[in-house]
């Protein structure tokens, strides 16, 4: 068992998938998914040491992301089987291959420890997901891909510069260790603070672009809404986590270097801005997939905010991170059902979902309640801790803005969801719902419910490990 195997395996199958016809390529997705899930679980249980230490490392936050990615990909791949059957995609081999490469690169992000390797992996996620967004080959999807690739590449280039600045900080501080997050965290005090701060700024803006923090979020609604739903689910569900991982690890160095206040404040500001931006566009949204995309921006804002305030907030942020992945991907998959059923992305052309697609409705509304922070879904606990943490750290006005903008987001979101679910439009006919395009969502939601009440001890300890590593906790 080698750590690197986890991302090499999907990489290989991905390469193969490019050359396979659709009949063979399609089952490859869930197969790889299962295999990957098995590997991830083994990784979790055994925690082996990597073949290239210094480049790769198994960290608690990485494990958390990895297991989420794995689970999600597996469920999404099952959904994708149904989705590909229902919708017409011209070159499916590219879709399949890109999905697998995407999985591989995301896995690599979670396992990488070297700053540059991390950057390479994150940039690779951009590249491997670009074809996914362009799947439908429409003008709109072309535009979305163009913006996605260009904005993200520019943003991530900033992160590269930031990474370089870290090495400069090392040089000035005369630190001679591998350029890996773990080594740097240990020696953070010796790094030059000025250059470290500059590096953090660049890395935050860079990976923040990828994560969807306002004002660098601009590509996100376009990309997430134009991609086919299984891809959107992955983009929103886990890709954002990967970018967050980069910020998280850098923040770890900052905290270790005693610059936690600086980085925390910046994270909080960006978090709040993201929530406000999301609120702005959710309020009068006309397309439901864009609405979900903005909701992702909101949640990334929440997570950034939580990470920024520290203390219980970090714990809350990590909970939000996990649950947001589960729930948002479920929502995007559900939006795929709606898209297939109604054939439109416009909110006002939908309606009566509760009557016409009851099963989809349950998944959709459950997802909505979950993402809005209602129990028994996990985001509730996450948001609770973030709010408590914000008050604990004395950021009263920030907490006020946070709560206010969350309320606005909720008002907007609820309005659209009410329209989609209940509005009485002309037709009341049932729309056929396929079983295999329902239960992946249910599984995701139920996982979130489950994790809201009981967590395996190892999961809890891993989260706490990650939380304490950036100075969070109770």
């Amino acid at each position: 068992m080698v750590v690197e195997m986890v991302f090499l395996a999907p990489f290989l199958t991905g390469l193969i998938a490019f050359f396979l016809p659709r009949t063979l390529g399609r089952p490859l997705l869930p197969l790889t998914g299962v295999f990957h899930l098995m590997l991830s679980v083994m990784l979790w249980v055994k925690r082996p040491s990597p073949l290239f230490p210094g480049y790769f490392e198994v960290t608690p936050e990485g494990l958390l992301s990895l297991i989420v990615i794995s689970l999600l990909f597996f469920l999404v791949s099952i959904y994708a089987m149904g989705y590909l059957r229902e919708s017409t995609i011209r070159s499916e081999n590219i879709f399949n291959g890109s999905m697998l490469l995407f999985l591989s690169t995301m896995t690599m992000v979670t396992l990488s420890d070297h700053i540059m390797v991390m950057w390479i992996a994150i940039e690779a996620t951009t590249l491997s997901s670009a074809p996914l967004i362009f799947t439908y080959r429409s003008k709109a999807s072309l535009e979305a891909t163009w913006k996605y690739v260009l904005v993200c590449s520019v943003g991530i280039a900033m992160a590269l510069l930031g990474s370089v600045l870290i090495t400069i900080a090392m040089d000035i501080g005369k630190v001679n260790v591998p350029v890996s997050f773990s080594a740097l965290t240990l020696n953070a005090r010796q790094l030059d603070p000025l250059w470290l701060k500059a590096a953090f700024v660049f890395i935050l803006v860079g990976y923040g672009t990828k994560m969807g923090l306002c004002p660098m979020h601009t590509w996100l609604p376009d990309a997430h809404s134009e991609a086919p739903s299984p891809a959107s689910a992955l983009l929103s569900g886990v890709l954002l986590n990967c970018a967050y991982l980069g910020i998280f690890k850098t923040n770890k160095i900052m905290v270790a270097a005693g610059l936690g206040d600086f980085s925390g404040t910046i994270l909080m500001v960006f978090g709040l801005m993201s929530i406000i931006a999301a609120a702005t566009f959710i309020l009068k949204q006309t397309e439901y997939k864009r609405m979900l995309a903005y909701s992702s921006i909101e949640n990334m804002g929440i997570i950034a905010f939580g990470t920024g305030i520290g203390g219980p907030g970090v714990y809350g942020a990590l909970l939000c991170l996990i649950h947001h992945s589960l729930i948002k991907s479920s929502l995007f998959l559900t939006s795929g059902n709606i898209l297939l059923g109604y054939g439109t992305r416009l909110i006002e052309s939908t309606g009566s979902l509760a009557r016409r697609m009851p099963k989809t409705f349950v998944a959709f509304f459950g997802g909505f309640a979950a993402i809005s922070g209602f129990p028994p879904f996990g985001i509730f606990i996450g948001e609770l801790f973030i709010i408590l943490g914000a008050f604990k750290s004395g950021h009263y006005s920030a907490a006020g803005i946070f709560i206010f903008s969350m309320c606005v987001v909720f008002a907007g979101f609820a309005k659209q969801v009410m329209i989609i679910s209940f509005d009485d439009k002309s037709s009341r006919d049932k729309i056929l719902e396929k079983q295999d395009m329902i239960w992946p969502q249910y599984t995701l939601l139920l996982t979130s419910v489950f994790l809201c009440f009981w967590m395996p001890d190892t999961l809890y300890r891993t989260i706490v490990e990650a939380v304490t590593s950036i100075g969070g906790g109770f």
């Binding site: 660098m216 600086f262 209602f374 509730f380 008050f391 604990k392 709560i403």
Partner: protein, 652 residues
């Protein structure tokens, strides 16, 4: 103890059964009604025991490996548990015949599921003993009740109601989050215990935040806007539970926070009192102006929450000014009114449900004369109306009587207590008068006179469980009204866990007061009996005829000529015009042979009206100003990245 677990288990299984058994409608309904009712009954017994013995139960579970879900049933919780389980049980019984649309089996079973969740979560809210537990139960309560509100989502107004309710409950919850956040910020523990040790200004902030949060659930003006929309939208027994019980969890929250903070200054009491006065008076004025039976009842809930808050406010000021008698009278009056209101309000909603069920309309001015065929409904509704108007010898009077005594007691003392007392007394009097007007209107227009439309004509009452439920509640109204002793003891026991610094409350003086009420009520009933006997004597052998109503010389009366609800309330509403803008719409009657004309009137809720202009529009405007950032131009998108870096580099 085990009984509590058992009742939760039965309740939950009832909900699950409903979901599972939706294919067989009759069986599903039977099973879930029986199990929900049994669950409520066992919970009722358990909580009544807990209240009576004044024992404190505590239990907790590990939650998410590190935290605790802890529950504590002290006497205050037990008091509210009694109310919750009692009313829920009766509402469940009522629902058996009310939910009789078998073609709607799926919706019905889902409704039972969420109903069971609602009961459970309400019970958990009043027993929760730390922040996480409380918020968890609170949010589940909001969510499950939301689903009950949009039960009939086919109607646009119900969807609007559900939306409003959703938003308000979320925002309210956020205020409570904030209150607890402040607490946590100072105590760094999730338990409630440290709250008494907060600095004074912080206590003030916490209380105000919590008051807004809980007030929005309780329906305190001006946070009540959702209430008149949501309560009518739900099925009637759910309206009964929501109006009767669920909004009381807000009251519970206020009391609990007050008790935990252990902060006795008259300012807090004044806040509560003034909020109560405003909700009370405006609630009933708006109720008076409604044309929709269930909306009217919903506004009347706002009024009664106002009365409860007046009681609590008097109690708080009593404590703050060192005036134990005033305090206990106020608190116990308020608590008793919690019980009373839950009884008569659910009774009235059930009556309204029967009317709606049979006639298919909630419009007051389309009804009339129902009493002739719906005898039990009418009689119980009459009792409910008398009780809600606070008239003796019914239960509504008892609670108000205690609040009056407390308020009058307050007038004996220094400035704050005096002002509070006078304010409470006068406003209670006004509220009483208005409530009387309001419910004579309902009785008179809906149940008496002649049917105003075909919908109301010749409608019988059917559904034994519905009638049974109403009769039970009506008898409670009389029992509490005549024999309030035991119930006052309940409230006093409930109060014993509210920290006022008095130690044990002596029961005797208060029992004495209830005995007076009993005496007076018995005297009244005796006189009534004598008079009835005399009346029978007076009519013995006398000719008794029946004829049409004398039309003062007009020979062709029609039911349309009757005084309508709108005309009945017009002059009173007119008096309150500044706070209840009254709008009329009727095309002028023109020409020698005028066309048919219409008349339409409504009164606006100023909170609702100004909510749009003061909050919603500015917020929308503000956010609209931000919309340009997503303009689609990639050059500027890249510019944002650049800008972000440049700005941040200034702070390095």
């Amino acid at each position: 103890m085990n009984l509590f677990y058992m009742s939760f288990l039965i309740l939950f299984s009832g909900g699950i059964l409903a979901l599972v058994g939706q294919r067989n409608f009759a069986l599903m309904k039977m099973l879930s009604v029986v199990s929900l009712a049994t669950g409520c009954l066992s919970g009722l017994i358990a909580s009544a025991q807990a209240l009576w013995q004044e024992k404190v139960f505590q239990f907790s579970f590990t939650y998410l490996n590190h935290f605790e879900l802890s529950y504590k049933i002290d006497s205050l919780s037990a008091f509210f548990l009694v109310v919750i389980f009692l009313i829920s049980m009766i509402a469940v019984i009522y629902s058996y015949h009310y939910m009789d649309h078998s073609e709607n089996a799926l919706a019905t079973s889902v409704h039972y599921f969420f109903f069971s969740l609602l009961i459970i979560s309400m019970a958990l809210v009043v027993t929760a003993d730390n922040i996480i537990t409380f918020m968890l139960s609170w949010e589940i309560m909001s969510l499950s009740s939301f689903f009950l509100v949009i039960f009939d989502y086919g109607k646009a107004e119900n969807r609007k109601a559900g939306y409003l309710y959703f938003i308000f409950s979320h925002i309210g919850a956020m205020f409570i989050f904030a209150a607890f956040g402040v607490v946590y910020g100072y105590t760094s523990q999730f338990g409630f215990n440290g709250m008494a040790g907060l600095p004074d200004t912080v206590k003030m902030i916490v209380f105000v935040l919590a008051f807004i949060g809980f007030g929005s659930k309780a329906g305190v003006f001006p946070f009540h806007v959702w209430l008149p929309h949501a309560h009518p939208a739900a099925p009637s027994h759910i309206s009964a539970v929501m109006s009767g019980v669920m909004i009381k969890t807000g009251i519970y929250g206020i009391l609990r926070v007050y008790s935990l903070l252990d902060y006795h200054v008259s300012v807090l009491g004044m806040i509560v009192l003034v909020a109560g006065v405003i909700s009370g008076i405006l609630g009933v004025v708006y109720a008076l102006g409604q044309h929709d039976l269930k909306r009217l009842l919903a506004y009347s809930s706002v009024e009664n929450v106002g009365i409860i808050l007046i009681g609590i406010g008097i109690g708080m000021i009593g404590v703050a000014t060192g005036n134990p008698l005033m305090a206990i009278l106020g608190f116990s009056g308020g608590l008793l009114h919690v019980l009373n209101h839950s009884i008569f309000k659910s009774l009235l909603f059930m009556g309204a449900g029967m009317v709606l069920h049979k006639t298919g309309t909630r419009a007051i001015d389309r009804l009339g004369g129902l009493l002739k065929r719906m005898r039990i409904t009418g009689a119980t509704f009459l009792i409910g109306s008398l009780a809600i108007s606070g008239l003796p010898p019914f239960n509504g009077f008892v609670g108000e009587f205690f609040i009056y005594l407390g308020a009058f007691n307050g007038t004996l003392f220094g400035n704050t207590a005096f002002v509070a007392g006078v304010l409470a007394v006068v406003s209670l009097a006004v509220i009483g008068g208005l409530a009387l007007a309001c419910f004579t209107k309902v009785m008179g227009v809906v149940f008496q006179g002649e049917p105003r439309s075909r919908a109301a004509a010749d409608k019988d009452e059917t559904g034994n469980t519905m009638l049974f439920a109403m009769m039970i509640l009506a008898s409670f109204c009389i029992i509490i009204g005549v024999l309030p002793g035991i119930f006052i003891q309940m409230t006093l026991k409930g109060l014993s866990s509210v920290s006022m610094g008095y130690g044990r409350i002596p029961l005797e003086p208060f029992i004495q007061m209830t005995e007076n009420i009993t005496l007076a009520a018995v005297v009244f009933l005796m006189v009534l009996l004598v008079l009835l006997a005399m009346r029978t004597l007076a009519y013995r052998g006398k000719p008794v005829g029946r004829k049409g109503t004398w039309g003062c010389g007009f020979t062709q009366p029609t039911p349309k000529m009757q005084y309508t609800g709108s005309s009945y309330s017009a002059s009173i509403v007119e008096f309150f015009r500044p706070v209840a803008p009254f709008q009329e719409h009727h095309p002028p009657v023109e020409g020698r042979f005028p066309e048919k004309t219409i008349y339409h009137s409504r009164i606006d809720d100023i909170a609702e009206r100004h909510m749009t202009t003061i909050i919603v529009r500015p917020v929308m405007w503000m956010f609209d100003r931000l919309r340009w950032i997503q303009h689609g131009d990639i050059h500027l998108y890249i510019g944002y990245i650049f800008l972000a870096i440049v700005v941040l580099l200034f702070f390095v």
